[in-house]
């Protein structure tokens, strides 16, 4: 298998603080890999080591066959980086900015094509300072694409986006994948990882606690379905299917056989002529798995 990124035993400490405890990961060519984790879990530290911004304390890291800590031009020419924060010259236009960054690379992509790809064609001759936050973020991506990289790092690319801007950004990333790019994505949005990633890894306190495709991460596909229902007030008590009551008058039960359990609940309601106030059948989402894995905590940054 062609590994674009290969990480073995990666550690990073700042004094006594262990930002990355020990990580083993690999990313295949053409895949979208998402690193999930709460703030302060080590996502950005790990990503910045791969990007060549930080030296590592221990372990082996290979990006496109290079050691990123050496800062070689040969590697930088093949990689595009979208950082968390933008830093752009406010007085240049979109086109000039993409042109300028494209000029840093030996094989740059045509500027108009890049601008089209991120959906900024109508803003091509607008100055950067006139762009909205979401448009500037798209320009960030355009800059990262200007050198036609094989590998793209996207560090929380949609933080601060409204829902429709986020949808657009996702479509854009899908476009990149169709161009054969490999994408390393960090995010704390589960829907983003679910939609975009071929494979995800969850990092918590500097360690990878789970890794796999989003649909089957940490045995998600084998997890039990949860059914929630709330009979109207005055309804006769339901038979015991193993459900537990909640303060709001609803009941929850977990089941391996969702079809049968849902039938039990609805046929009981129909038999008694009851219309349920609430009925919910839910597969465990990526978020459920994630919260379980990370203990639902947000660490300090």
């Amino acid at each position: 298998m062609d590994h674009v990124i290969e990480i073995t035993g990666l550690r990073k400490t700042y004094g006594d603080l262990e930002a990355v405890a020990s990580i083993d990961l690999h990313v295949d060519r053409g895949e979208v890999f998402a690193l999930l984790g709460p703030n302060g879990a080590g996502k950005t530290t790990a990503t910045e080591i791969l990007e060549g911004y930080r030296p590592r304390t221990a372990g082996e890291v290979s990006v496109l066959g290079h050691d990123p800590s050496k800062g070689e031009r040969a590697l930088k020419q093949r990689v595009g980086i979208v950082l968390q924060s933008t830093g752009l010259d406010a007085f240049l236009t979109v086109r000039e900015t993409v042109d300028m960054y494209g000029g840093y690379y030996p094989r740059s992509r045509p500027t108009d094509e890049v601008i089209e790809l991120v959906g900024l064609r109508e803003k091509a001759d607008e100055r950067v300072r006139k762009l909205s936050g979401g448009q500037q973020r798209r320009l960030d991506v355009a800059i990262a694409l200007a050198g036609d990289p094989e590998l793209l790092f996207l560090d929380e690319p949609t933080t601060g986006f409204d829902p429709s801007a986020r949808r657009n950004a996702w479509e854009m990333v899908k476009n990149l994948v169709s161009l054969g790019k490999t994408v390393w994505l960090t995010t704390h949005f589960m829907d983003e990882a679910q939609y975009l990633a071929d494979r995800v890894a969850v990092i918590a306190k500097g360690r990878i606690v789970a890794e796999g495709p989003p649909d089957s991460l940490a045995g998600r596909d084998a997890m039990r379905t949860r059914i929630r229902f709330r009979p109207p007030s005055g309804a006769p008590p339901a038979p015991d299917w193993g459900q537990t009551p909640s303060a709001d008058g609803s009941f929850s039960l977990e089941t391996d056989d969702a079809t049968r359990s849902a039938h039990d609940v609805t046929s009981w309601a129909l038999d008694h002529g009851i219309a349920l106030d609430l009925l919910e059948v839910r597969q465990p989402s990526l978020e459920d798995v994630y919260l379980q894995l990370t203990g639902g905590e947000e660490g300090a940054e």
Binding site: G52, R73, K76, I81, L83, G87, F91, Y101, G147
Partner: protein
């Protein structure tokens, strides 16, 4: 090399598109030239054995002030801002060599400085009938500008490394340069009977050497190559400190 030229073009474009910044960069020395000449009156200023008009005195000292503002102040504050806004970090993630990027910034700053000097000199000629250097003196004047630009740009880079954040930029940058400008006679001529420590500040630090070299070449007085040597030495010191303190990212 072509990367440096391309970068200078973009830097230049962005510079002129910020009219407020460009306008005041150029207005400042001219404003001071008019203010000082008006306040002091266009009197005689004794310079050793020579006596010159104060308007002429302020033409070359404000030209020096302009060069220092463009190279030292603008580089130091500009690099701190670029660092705080993440521009430097972004550049570092690309194949653009750091040296080429910084060279482009320095060359652009120097070009702005030279333009400022030219404008100040032309303004002095038109408004105050100040003299203009010619022949060998003009050559010395231009050489002084080149060495001076390199020296103050290097010090600007060095200072940008010790400024902790963008808010601290302007105060630190100004607190370093303004006392030196005053003690080196840029704004008010330093008399022959100044205290010894003032004389020593002038001898040690580069500002007075720049002003003296610009004055001597501008007025056609005997040129002291030692002035340029001191400027070159400070350029080396500046580059050395900058190479030790330069940071790509804001400190956290």
């Amino acid at each position: 090399m072509s990367q440096v030229l391309a970068q200078i073009r973009y830097t230049n474009k962005a510079f002129w598109r910020n009219p407020a910044s460009a306008f005041f960069t150029f207005l400042f020395p001219l404003l001071f030239l008019v203010i000082f000449t008006t306040l002091v009156g266009n009197n005689d200023v004794p310079l050793g054995t020579e006596v010159i008009k104060s308007s002429t005195y302020y033409v070359f000292s404000m030209a020096a002030f302009g060069l220092i503002s463009a190279c030292y102040t603008n580089i130091a504050i500009g690099v701190v801002f670029a660092r705080e806004e993440g521009v430097l970090k972004r550049i570092r993630g690309t194949p653009m060599p750091a040296g080429a990027y910084l060279t482009a910034r320095v060359v652009h700053a120097a070009l702005v400085g030279f333009l400022l000097v030219a404008i100040t000199v032309v303004f002095g000629v038109i408004a105050y009938h100040a003299s203009v250097p010619d022949g060998a003196h003009l050559g010395q004047f231009i050489l002084t500008l080149l060495v001076g630009a390199g020296c103050f740009a290097a010090i600007g880079l060095a200072v940008s490394g010790i400024v902790p954040n963008a808010d601290a930029g302007p105060p630190i940058v100004n607190v370093i340069i303004f006392p030196l400008l005053f003690l080196s006679g840029v704004f008010i001529a330093v008399g022959n009977d100044s205290p010894a420590w003032v004389v020593w500040v002038g001898r040690i630090f580069p500002v007075k050497h720049l002003v003296d070299a610009m004055r001597d070449s501008y007025l056609g007085l005997p040129f002291h190559w030692s002035d340029l040597a001191v400027l070159a030495l400070w350029a080396v010191v500046g580059v050395f400190i900058a190479s030790r303190t330069f940071r790509w990212e804001p400190s956290r």
